[in-house]
């Protein structure tokens, strides 16, 4: 009997260790969302009730549960729900907003950022969250070189230093910068990690563990009751290749304005479905409630939607990211070959001619089933800094966009003017010297990219350019990109709201300045101005001023035609109608999306 009592007590303690009891009443420092309040991003959000389970499908398994060593969205999809940071992206507008910080101040000189933390808020195991957790996450994890953490790069200031994070008191921390750098706000949205659980695995804090132990902490085989977070959900179940189950964190500090603690759904179940056709079947079968559909799913889902009680969201909002072709302006530079081809590739009029041969309308109609938008700059269309707007966050007008309309006649005249004409009568245009001009277009084995390339190849050939398209292995293609050994390459990049995150791509010494790496040693005026504008945009907290700088940089980039942009698919989503607030889905957030932002606002309308 005694043993049984001890065992029962131990079980009780251990279960308490997983999840605490939660708050007795709404904490004074709760984060309250203004549902239905006009003038806020939440004015169309409905108040919900707690309970129920929401199901979605993910394409890959997570690789671990450690937020700061994760390199892929298949992991951060869950860790972003388990952890929240001082700042976050707004659920609906996508702007940087407060989260675990209840407020923050920027000193007059712009160099000291002071964050005031929410008081009396707990980790999911019931331990108080304090400034020590912020310092641990920043100084001992993110800035710790023993930790394989990608987000460290985002913390680097323009002069190569890192912000200095210091504790003022238990609920106040400061970040001191060596120079004004607004994008640091995005980087300071890093997720917080519990010091009391993880400090023991960091070598600099616990020399008894080997260097790098933290990298192997909170892996997939870690008992799930070890996981602790401050976000809306905590992982409570994982069946390899099948599903991840998350349950509500009783200590989450988000509340709606009716005093109901968020998230509304008790459970979030993510089915791991590698094949997207199967995902769609599962959606049609009612097994998953929300679905990031593809354009080709529309003819099937739309007719079924009314009878089955789901909605198909077809929007004109572009998704994040860019797809482009790159004309390698350093072709043959390393080997000292292709001098004449390099010379013509470096001529902006030649690249303009190629840009006028890109039939974006056909690409959108034939490849994206009519559900795509044209892309003119390197900044993603949903970004408030996108140059097609008149002001920061304004509507997209494209009034000032530097565009190159599909115009084969104009392209031909530009090529003629450059002397790129058919000199030997074989039907193909030659270099000005009369030497043959053969163009190779490469892309990896991706259905959309191949379709784009075939359209481009046809138009180039119709204009007399001897272009040949070859599919090559993705890794070989990336190798060509970095070694500057390719000719014309079609690829894509991920994108975000802050243009400075693309600094690596667009500044003359960036490691992805793949259209002309030699610009680092030999920058022209445009390169230098872009470098300058990138810094100017970052060195101000005035968003309107930053927008002005970034707009100029995007226009220069468009004139420069280093990367020549193509199209971007529009945002599509499907959800069952019983999921309240799922209709607020956007490229920024969806209930089942990578950042999971909207998930905590969704609820079951049938309850």
């Amino acid at each position: 009997m005694k043993k049984a009592l001890i065992l029962a007590s131990l079980l009780l303690v251990s279960s308490l260790a997983v999840f605490g009891q939660g708050y007795d009443a709404q904490p004074a420092d709760a984060l309250v969302f203004p549902f239905g309040v006009a003038g806020t991003p939440y004015e169309n959000a409905e108040l919900g009730v707690r309970g129920g389970t929401i199901h979605e499908a993910s394409i890959e398994d997570p690789r671990g549960w450690n937020n700061h060593t994760a390199h892929e969205t298949s992991t951060t999809q869950y860790t972003n729900l388990m952890h929240r940071g001082l700042l976050n992206l707004d659920h609906i507008s996508g702007a940087v907003v407060i989260d675990f910080a209840k407020s923050y101040d920027i000193s007059d000189d712009g160099l000291v950022l002071t964050f005031h933390l929410r008081e009396n808020i707990y980790w999911s195991d019931g331990v108080l969250i304090t400034a020590d957790d912020v310092l641990f996450t920043y100084n001992d994890v993110i800035l710790n070189e023993d930790v394989d953490c990608n987000s460290r790069d985002g913390q680097i200031l323009p002069d190569g230093t890192f912000p200095v994070c210091e504790k003022v008191d238990d609920y106040t921390v400061t970040f001191t910068l060596s120079t004004i750098y607004r994008p640091i706000l995005n980087s300071l949205a890093f997720n917080l990690m519990p010091k009391h659980k993880l400090a023991q695995f960091v070598h600099k804090l616990n020399p008894d563990v080997p260097v790098g132990t933290f990298n192997e902490t909170w892996t997939l085989d870690t008992p799930l009751d070890e996981l602790v977070g401050n976000g809306p959900y905590i992982v409570t179940g994982y069946q390899v290749n099948v599903s991840v189950t998350m349950e509500r964190n009783p200590y989450y500090y988000g509340y709606d304005n009716a005093g109901t603690q968020l998230p509304y759904f008790d459970k979030f179940v993510s089915n791991i479905v590698t094949n997207q056709d199967v995902s769609m079947l599962k959606f049609r079968n009612g097994e998953i409630d929300v679905y990031g559909m593809r354009a080709e799913d529309i003819p099937i889902l739309l007719p079924e939607s009314t009878g089955k009680g789901f909605s198909v969201m077809i929007t004109d909002l572009a998704t994040y990211g860019t797809t482009w072709i790159l004309v390698n302006q350093d072709i043959g530079l390393a080997e000292g070959t292709d001098t004449e081809k390099r010379e013509i590739y470096r001529t902006v009029e030649f690249r303009e001619a190629l840009a006028h041969l890109l039939d974006k309308d056909t690409m959108v109609q034939n490849v994206l089933n009519g559900l795509g938008t044209y892309q003119w700059t390197g900044v993603s269309l949903p970004s408030p800094f996108y140059a097609g707007r008149d002001y920061y966050g304004g509507p997209i007008t494209e009034a000032d966009a530097v565009t190159f309309e599909y115009d084969p006649a104009l392209a031909a005249s530009k090529l003629d003017a450059l002397g790129v004409v058919d000199a030997d009568g074989d039907g193909w245009r030659d270099l000005p010297s009369g030497a043959p001009l053969e163009i190779t277009i490469n892309a990896n084995d991706n259905t959309t990219r191949i379709a784009y390339c075939l359209i481009i190849q046809d138009d180039f050939r119709a204009a007399g350019l001897n272009a040949n398209f070859q599919v090559i292995d993705f890794n070989t293609l990336v190798g060509d990109l970095f070694a500057a050994t390719g000719d014309i390459i079609l690829l894509g990049l991920t994108g975000g709201d802050e243009p400075n995150s693309g600094k690596n791509v667009y500044t003359s010494c960036g490691s992805l300045h793949a259209y002309r790496y030699s610009a680092c040693d030999d920058p022209d005026e445009v390169d230098l101005r872009i470098d300058e504008l990138m810094d100017l945009g970052a060195n101000t907290f005035d968003l309107d001023a930053a927008f002005g700088y970034y707009k100029e940089y995007q226009q220069l980039l468009a004139y420069q035609l280093g990367y020549i942009y193509l199209c971007q698919p529009t945002f599509l989503y499907a959800h069952y109608d019983f999921v309240g607030n799922a209709n607020l889905s956007s490229p920024t957030s969806t209930p089942g999306g990578n950042n999971g932002l909207l998930l905590e606002l969704c609820f079951d309308k049938t309850l």
């Binding site: 389970t53 199901h55 890959e60 398994d61 690789r63 671990g64 450690n66 060593t69 390199h71 070189e145 394989d148 990608n150 460290r152 790069d153 985002g154 680097i156 790098g212 990298n215 192997e216 892996t219 997939l220 085989d221 409570t236 179940g237 994982y238 069946q239 390899v240 290749n241 099948v242 599903s243 189950t245 179940v269 089915n271 479905v273 590698t274 094949n275 056709d277 199967v278 079947l281 599962k282 049609r284 079968n285 097994e287 292995d473 993705f474 890794n475 070989t476 990336v478 190798g479 690829l491 990049l493 991920t494 995150s501 693309g502 600094k503 690596n504 791509v505 960036g510 490691s511 992805l512």
Partner: protein, 329 residues
Amino acid sequence: MLTYILRRTLYMIPLLLVVSLISFSLIKLMPGDYLTTARLNPQITAETLQQQIERFGLDRSFIVQYAYWLKNVLTGDFGTSFDTRMPVFRTLFFGGRLMWTIILASTTLVLTWLIAIPIGIYSATHQYKPSDHVVTFFGFLGLSIPNFFFALVLLWMLVVIFRVGDHGLGVGGLLDARFFDAPMSLAKFGNYLWHMWPLWLVIGTGGMAGLIRLMRGSLLDTLSLPYVQTARSKGLKERVVVYKHAVRNAINPLVTVLGLSLPTLVGGSIITAIVLNIPTVGRAYFAALQQQDEPVILGGLLFFSLFLLIGNLVADFLLAWVDPRIRYN
């Protein structure tokens, strides 16, 4: 016999070494590496990439990397996955993958054999009759439909034609979501079976067709042998001629196939497992290939090679067991 087993087992060691060297070379010949995708991330600096290259030892020469790997393997350390940060075999087998692989493969194997052998015998003994043509037609159909396509069509039929969702039934995966965290019960067991039958059907039809053809061909060969004619001329019943004399000899080639199917027990049906969402070792290995997670690829190749060699050995023993004419010295 014991000496033979010992000798064959010892032969495996140099063979596995050669396999490891060839595998290592092939991995290194593949373009790119685990960090290729990271190189395309605008937010990762060249310095960070260099740190990661050094952390994973990708900056060392081929020989040094192989020697380092081999030294660790000889001490029982197969390394840590670049991707999951777990030990290699933990990555491959974690979460019941090995168990589900063996359950899936062994049940499919048993079902396939139980159905294919009698059909093969029937087909051989009814050569060129309409029933033989029907069986042969379905055999070829099963053989020629790609498994992934068959799996998709099957799921589509369940969802769209039979509307199983209206009855609260899911498709693909091991279980319906409502059973994920439920304790084992009859209903849960039944749900496991509901999710297993499409797998048996898809994987089984592919393997079954081959077996039917093999059994049919082997039995037809045997039935034309003089000793069968002798048996018939002695007035033995056809059933005895076929089952007691012919089938016992005709089954020899199939026994070899049985032994060789051992490696597929752990590594086969990757694409079907992906489409039907089943956790298997093959899927973990496939994911490692996609990510160029070198330690897991190497560990997986060695593991599959070992099973192939053991499968060969088992095939030889089974052959000796069923055929008294074969003896190993």
